[in-house]
């Protein structure tokens, strides 16, 4: 586990001076969609919180409910999806918000960066105007002021000749530039919480590092909290103070970053860490977790079909999500027994 130790060394530790009440406190968050064979729970009973200035990483495979969790925080679950539970953000429960309240909140208090900056920007509107729009909406700037501020924002995310770039359309920018512009747009109103949904997945590795650096710098400047979503545990390890691992709509392990890497308890987390290629080791084949996410399992542990340690009990009853060490939660029958 030498590689894991390196990751631990790189992981960010939770700042000791966190304020007593977290910025975001999610309790029993469930997202249900109508399905052909009755309602399907895409996200099931999530509990987590993010302190001010802290980054939570959410990790899991495609389709595990990561993105749905983020959309729920913005009230953007569409297609008949229903959100239950409580989302306590800065003292108010977002689940009971009206459409009007949501529109006040989005872009101002909670902003989101999407995975694919090409499709996430309006192709027929200049980048500067797309950024200015959010300022006009929330800071009541005039169109002229907003355009001017947009240029400043583009400069602040490291885009060269920002005044000219503001006039450009998204297709005229490179992938990295577009993602920088997306970040400028998301940070325009200095939100308290930034949701970053795979912000670097569509980018080259060198650009990835730049974008991550940029996000962390801006986070320190603005004392902003980040919910960082990725399928890539290595990327998350670089930015997150704590990490929640999701599998099939549920949290299977939730712990401070260093703790998670030093002492991964859930077999799925262990598998994810094992899949990270170690540059110091020569291997013939990279490790893969056998099988794939099986949907439609309603009884027992959802990971049981892929778990090397699963037994009859795992297939019969669903494990509780319990705190096994301070701040370290896991849902597995095999832990502690």
């Amino acid at each position: 586990m030498q590689h894991a130790e390196q990751l631990v060394a790189g992981a960010r530790t939770v700042a000791s001076a966190t304020s007593p009440s977290p910025l975001l406190d999610v309790r029993d968050l469930t997202v249900t969609f109508p399905g052909a064979a009755g309602p399907v729970q895409i996200v099931r009973g999530l509990n987590y919180s993010i302190a001010r200035g802290e980054t939570l990483g959410i990790v899991g495979e495609s389709g595990c409910g990561k993105t749905m969790t983020s959309l729920a925080l913005l009230g953007l679950v569409s297609g008949g999806g229903k959100v239950d539970g409580t989302i306590d953000f800065n003292g108010s429960n977002l689940v009971s918000f009206s459409q009007r309240q949501w529109q006040q909140l989005r872009g101002r208090d909670i902003a989101m960066i999407f995975q694919e900056p090409m499709t996430a920007m309006n192709p027929v509107m200049p980048v500067g105007r797309q950024i200015g729009e959010v300022l006009i909406k929330h800071q009541k700037l005039s169109r002229r002021q907003a355009e001017k501020r947009a240029v400043e924002l583009l400069a602040s995310v490291g885009i060269p000749s920002p005044a000219r770039r503001a006039q450009d359309y998204p297709h005229q920018l490179s992938g990295g530039m577009r993602q920088r512009a997306m970040i400028a747009m998301a940070l325009a109103c200095r939100p308290r919480l930034l949701i970053a949904d795979e912000p670097t997945t569509a980018l080259d590795v060198t650009i990835q590092a730049q974008i991550l650096d940029l996000m962390l710098t801006l986070q320190d400047e603005a004392k902003m909290s980040i919910q960082f979503i990725s399928h890539n545990l290595a990327v998350v390890s670089e930015v997150a103070h704590s990490i929640m691992v999701m599998y099939a709509g549920k949290a299977v392990e939730y712990a401070p970053s260093d703790d998670l890497f030093a002492n991964p308890l859930h077999p799925y987390t262990q598998g994810l860490i094992a899949t990270l290629p170690d540059p110091d080791k020569q291997v013939k084949r990279l490790y893969v977790i056998p099988g794939r996410v099986t949907s439609g399992i309603t009884v027992g542990c959802r990971f049981a079909s892929r778990c090397p340690r699963a037994d009859e009990g795992c297939r019969r009853t669903e494990p509780e999500f319990v705190e096994v060490a301070p701040g370290h939660h896991v849902a597995c029958h095999k832990v502690g027994s």
Binding site: L74, L76, G107, A111, T119, N122, V124, Y169, H171
Partner: protein, 317 residues
């Protein structure tokens, strides 16, 4: 952009030349000829005089010679004489073009915004009751035949209520503007109703797709109101694929408003072309059909320019 437009216009000239030859030959293939038509039922006519007449009009010559003659005079501004109206072709077509242009422009000015509004409303909640109502309207528009709608409207508004005239053109030559507008109401209504249904369906489909796209989600995530999302972000993107449909629709309306023109007694392009063809008015039919070709070509050029204007990703070369 200018270079593109000029080269497209040159291409259009070529297409018009080819079309004129094709139309010339096609009309020549029709049974009967102008001489027969003109002198039909004249008992004192002998086959000899018929042949003389044909020679006089040059109808005994091969088609390419005749086409050459026609093209030569056409390029010198002489488009020939209408054998039905006994006037120069241009004199017959002039008022018809004006008539059709009024009808079409009024129809498009009403139906495009109407289709955008209804399509966008329907797309907001697919399967909802607004959507069902609008779809019902669209299907009625697509399915109900134009002559039937025209007659029903005439019965209701002209015969029963007496609010509107049953004819599309004022009887007096120099009618006031308001009178002209009153006469246009029923024909424009029928044509709009006929035209708007398919457009609504297209806008709806395009809007549903656009509203599900990532950048619309981004716009919502910025806190924009739903109407700002639709008007500022979705509509323009949804309109891009609509441009072709609109351009083709304009071309087909130009010569295809026949039923409405017939029922409301308007001498528009559709009616003129139909009459010219059925009476073998060679010159009139040829020029009328060529005009329809030109309008279609121009509207497709306009469509391409509109694409470039709506979508910055498209660069015309």
């Amino acid at each position: 952009m200018l270079r593109y437009t000029v080269s497209r216009l040159l291409q259009a000239v070529l297409v018009i030349l080819v079309m004129s030859l094709l139309l010339f030959m096609l009309i020549g293939l029709m049974p009967g000829d102008p001489v027969e038509n003109m002198l039909e039922g004249n008992p004192s006519l002998t086959p000899d005089t018929m042949a003389q007449m044909r020679a006089l009009y040059g109808l005994d010559q091969p088609v390419y010679v005749r086409y050459g003659h026609w093209l030569y005079s056409a390029l010198h501004g002489d488009l020939g004489y209408s054998s039905v109206y006994f006037r120069p072709v241009l004199e017959v077509l002039g008022p018809a073009i004006v008539q059709t242009a009024k009808l079409l422009v009024a129809t498009e000015i009403i139906s495009i915004p109407l289709a955008m509004l209804l399509g966008a409303l329907a797309a907001r909640r697919p399967g909802g009751w607004t959507d069902s109502l609008i779809s019902l309207f669209a299907f009625a528009s697509i399915s109900l035949p134009g002559f039937w709608t025209s007659l029903i409207l005439i019965i209701v508004f002209s015969v029963k209520l007496g609010w509107l005239p049953a004819s599309g053109t004022p009887l007096m030559g120099d009618a006031s503007l308001s009178e002209q507008i009153v006469h246009m109401i029923l024909p424009v209504t029928v044509l709009t109703f006929f035209h708007v249904g398919p457009l609504v369906r297209y806008v709806r489909a395009s809007m549903i797709e656009t509203l599900n796209s990532d950048f619309v989600r981004t716009a919502r995530a910025k806190g924009l109101s739903e109407s700002a999302v639709i008007i500022r972000h979705a509509l323009r993107n949804a309109l891009i694929p609509m441009v072709t449909v609109l351009a083709l629709g304009f071309g087909s309306l130009f010569s295809g408003a026949l039923v409405v023109e017939t029922i409301f007694g308007m001498l528009g392009m559709g009616k003129i072309i139909y009459d010219a063809v059925s009476n073998i008015d060679f010159n009139l039919a040829l020029v009328g059909l060529l005009l329809a070709t030109i309008v279609t070509l121009l509207s497709s050029l306009l469509a391409d320019l509109a694409y470039a204007w709506l979508d910055p990703r498209i660069v015309l070369k």
